[in-house]
Every structure is written in C-alpha cells, then in structure tokens.
Amino acid sequence: MLKLGVPSKGRLMEQTFDWFGRHGVTLSRTGSDREYAGAVEGVDGLELVLLSAGEIPRELAAGRIHLGVTGSDLVREKLADWPAQVVELAPMGFGHADLIIAVPACWPDVDTLDDLDAAAAAFRRAHGFRLRIATKYHRLVRDFLTRHGVADYQLVDSQGATEGTVKNLTAEAVADITSTGETLRANHLKILADALVHQSQATLYGARGADWQGARRSALAQLCARLGISPGDLA
C-alpha cells in the first residue's frame, strides 16, 4: 500500500480533503470523529494515515509514509537539507502563512535587516548580551540571518504566544508565522520590510527514502495522473 499522511484535524484536514476531492480522490475519516482512521476512494492501493501536521516531515524523512501533506515551513524547519529527503509534488494553494521577523513598533529606527543588525550591535554593547529573537523556527531563521549577514543576535525558543515575549522582556524581537499581521499589531509589533523568511503553504510531498517498488509505483502513477502532476524523480 502507498501511505498518504494527512493532518488529522481542523481546517488543514478539511482543505486537504477538499483539494483531493476536486481531483476525484475522495478522502474521509471513518468511525467516530475521535478515531484516527480514514478511507480512500478513487485510487487503488492508497491508504490514508492521519497524523499531526508537525510529525509529517519526520515520517516522510523516515520513509514510513510515501506521501504527505504539510506546511512547507514545517518541512524546511524540521528537515536538514530537505530537497535531499523529500520531493515537492504539488503546492496546494491553501494554508498560506508568512514567516517574518517583527520588532517593537516603538523602534522607528529599525525597518530593515540592516537596521536590525546595527541595533543588535548597539544592544549587545549596552546590555552585555546578544539581542534575543524569540521563535520556534530556529533553522529557517538562523539560515536566513546568516545568509543576510546579520550578527550579534541570539535565538530563544518560544513554542507559543511568541508575540508576548517582547512585552514580557524575554526577547527583543520575534520571528513567527503570520497571515494577516493582526496578532502582531495587537502586541505593538511591526514587520521588517525585507525580512520575509519564508512564504509557506500546504504542500504535497513525496518521500525519497520510502519503498517505491512494485505495486506502489503503479499506485503513484495512477494518483499523479488523477492529480495532474508529475511524480518528479520519485518513480
């Protein structure tokens, strides 16, 4: 069987079901709405696996699922050298969110990465430690800031309520996902003009490390034909 990992609840699951439905592949949950079991109609040899969206990158990397739907931000954050581990088969056009860097709105002197870098240098001199950026996207943000040559900052881990860290004095800036920017504004933060770290959307991935032999290969071909996409160099 070809295993397809799909987020197990909420908007992301519903929109994934709708997206496949529009392509003639019916995904559904079976049993009670507390039971994580699913069914597939329209493609032979495809099995639905309901998982937490955050665990799908890891399961893809391990090859325990063949295909998976999750946010492109999660794949890039959780997998080192992600293109070596998964193939991007189809951007799905929903679940849009931008990973951005935001600073207090009361910093009129900081609007770009160049400003952030200069402010970080002065901050370190004044306070004796590096300017703290709260985030849960450590790899994405670190790679981005390294690429742009920003120094004198440190990342502090924040798994939730990240926008509140500045007010609570546990960080000076934040790097977080936003779609409308409303939570940032409500917390008196503003987005830097040139610090769009990643534009994320729900994406269908294939696992390079999964077993693609025999019937699985024909199931993939059948599914890709239905979805009107190319299996890339997977099969």
């Binding site: 207090p104 009361c106 002065a122 040559g149």
Partner: protein, 362 residues
C-alpha cells in the same frame, strides 16, 4: 577518511614533533559550556556544533575546537611565554550530505608570546610546513590586520568604520555596507521618510514603549542615523582602493610590493605591511621559500571570527577536501576570554585523518 587508528598514529607523530618543538601537551574536556562559545561565535555555532543538555550545568557543546578551552586554561593559570600542544576529537555538525566528517581528530600547536609576534607567526608556520612537507601541500596565507587597518584608515565616521569592522567576516554584508557608505546603493524609502521627518524636527508616531531596548537607546540610534545622513559618502577612490586590497592574490613578494604601493595612498596600513615584511623575512630565515608563498588578502574572512592577524592554511590538490591544516593569530580572543588581561597568541591545527589519507608522514 582514514580509519581512526591510522589518524591516531599520525596524531601521535605530530604531538611528538610539537613536544620536541618545546610545547607542553594539554587536555581539554569534550563537553564545554555552551554559553561561552555562543557568546563568542553567535548563533552560527549552533548550526555547526552539537548542543546537549547537562542536568546541572545547563546547555553544553561537544567541543567544536580546542582553541577556546586552551586559551581559557592559559589565561587562568599559564606562565609566559607558553607553547601548548593537544590532540583529540572535535565535533562539527554537517547539515548537508558530505564527505566531511562530523567527528575527527585535531592536533594543535599554540604559542602565547609577548615579545616578538612576527617571529612567533613564522615559528608556527615554518613548523607546520616542515612537518607537512612530505605531503606536497599548497600553502596559502593572509593577514586580517591589514584589512582592519585599511578600514580604520578610511576618512569617514567612526560608526561606519565600526560597522565595517564587525562584518569583515561576513563578506556579503561588508560589501553591502561599503556600497551604502560609498553612496552607491539607494537609501531605502522608509529610511528617507524617517530622515525627512527627523530633519523637520518631528519624531515619528509609534506605539507605546515596549521591551528592554530603552528609549534612550532608540534616541541614540536616531541621532546616529541623522549624523550618518549628513556625512559625505566614502569617496569612490577609497572604496576602489579597499576593493583592490580585498581582491589581492599574488605570490608574497608581488603582494608585498602591491601593498607598499597601496600604502602610499592608504598610509594607515603601513605598520601592518611592515609587519608582513618582517614576517616574510622571518619565514625566509626559517627556510620557507617565500618567493612562491601565496598571499590572499581575503584569506580567513569566511572562518569563525577570531583571527585578527596572520592567517594560513595548507591544502591538498583535491578541492573537495577541507584544509589539511589551518591557523592564525588571535590576540583579541585572549582579551575577550582573559577578563581584563590579554596576550598575543598564534597557533594552528592539523587534521591527522587527512594526513593519513594523503599517505602519512612516516
């Protein structure tokens, strides 16, 4: 890369040679407190070093190099002058599939010596060159002190020089800053609007004050922005000379002659160029063929940022391989780790695993 046993055999030979050169062999813990390394190297080290947690001591790192613990040890208890050597595994995370090892042996030699830095530079390089001679490696050298002197000699605001000096090790940002300070890059629209408002005596309307960065710090930077906007750009001649310097790659005698030429218009680099000449003389006396020794002005700009003078590396013919040996002068690091004290220091490391792969020294 060679099996560990082969690497260890080469390491033992190198340690014996370093001891014979007068070094005391020292040890360092594999688990190092993360805080010191993070403060020194910044977030980049997190992408390169393994971080682990100790239940009582907090965040620890598997040592990414020996330099920091050896400097700390010397600053705490060492007598001067001192020569140390060491041998052991270091650990570097690899984020991409690569032939480079995440765990390999380093053998190092470090000299803490106050009186004659140029002679100490030559001593370390000549020792490495003599030991590695059987492998027929290509050596390259550079001198970060010439670059920093050139930046310090620019006729512009101290704040601009400080910004450029911070980014010597980040060539992309350095180039961007130089373009902006040279008036070659456009002012971002948001900055132009802010400056216009400040020039009119207004302060932009913002939300309530928030966070640890104080209003005084914000005002200081706003004033610095106004000062920067008023200052004339760094002249095209000066930018050109700096770029000429950064791109300089030549055999040492030709490089020295070119630097002497540059120093006529850029007198700030003259003392550093004098030291380079004295170092070449010392290297020649130590038996190095300086006529063929490559000098690359930007050598060492993409390493971890602690070298601040002479830098060198030894390379095998295969460009995929990491340097077989590398090192340099790190006077400022001893100041950072010395809590008020400092001592000129120079040293380097050899990778005995690569030495074994290339045929060994036996």
């Amino acid at each position: 890369m060679a099996e560990k046993a082969a690497a260890r055999a080469e390491a033992a030979r190198l340690v014996a040679a370093f001891r014979a050169a007068g070094a005391v062999e020292v040890e360092a813990d594999i688990l190092q407190p993360a805080e010191v390394l993070l403060d020194l190297y910044g977030e980049d080290i997190r992408a390169r070093a393994y971080v682990t947690a100790d239940p009582l001591r907090g965040e620890m790192m598997l040592r990414p190099d020996f330099t920091v613990p050896v400097v700390q040890m010397h600053m705490a208890e060492g007598a001067e002058p001192a020569r140390y050597c060491y041998s052991g595994e270091v650990f570097r995370k690899q984020e991409h599939p690569t032939a480079r090892r995440a765990e390999y042996v380093q053998v190092g030699y470090e000299v803490f010596e106050r009186d004659n830095p140029v002679a100490a530079d030559a001593e370390v390089f000549a020792l490495f060159a003599r030991l590695l001679a059987p492998l027929g490696l290509r050596a390259a050298t550079g001198d970060i002190a010439i670059l920093t002197a050139a930046v310090r000699g620019l006729k512009t605001l101290e704040t601009r020089k400080a910004a450029l000096l911070r980014h010597i090790w980040r060539p992309r940002r350095f180039t961007e800053l130089l373009e902006r300070f040279g008036g070659q890059a456009p002012v971002p629209p948001s900055r132009a609007a802010l400056l216009a408002m400040l020039a009119a005596g207004d302060r932009p309307e913002t939300g309530p004050h928030l966070g640890l960065r104080s209003e005084a710090e914000i005002s200081t930077r706003l004033a610095a922005l106004v000062e920067d906007a008023k200052a004339p750009p760094i002249s095209a001649e000066e930018v050109g000379r700096l770029e000429d310097l950064l791109n300089l790659e030549a055999p040492s005698p030709a490089a020295l002659a070119h630097l002497r030429d540059l120093a006529r218009d850029l007198p700030a680099i003259a003392p550093a160029v004098d030291r380079m000449e004295a170092r070449l003389d010392a290297l020649a006396r130590a038996g190095i063929d300086v006529g063929k020794l490559a000098f690359e002005a930007s050598h060492g700009r993409t390493t971890l940022e602690y070298y601040d003078g002479f830098v060198f590396s030894f390379h095998a013919a295969d460009p995929e391989l990491p340097p077989v040996a590398s090192g340099g002068r790190y006077d400022a690091l001893t100041e950072v780790l010395g809590q008020g004290r400092s001592i000129p220091a120079v040293g380097g490391i050899i990778r005995p695993g690569l030495v074994a792969d290339l045929g060994g020294l036996a």
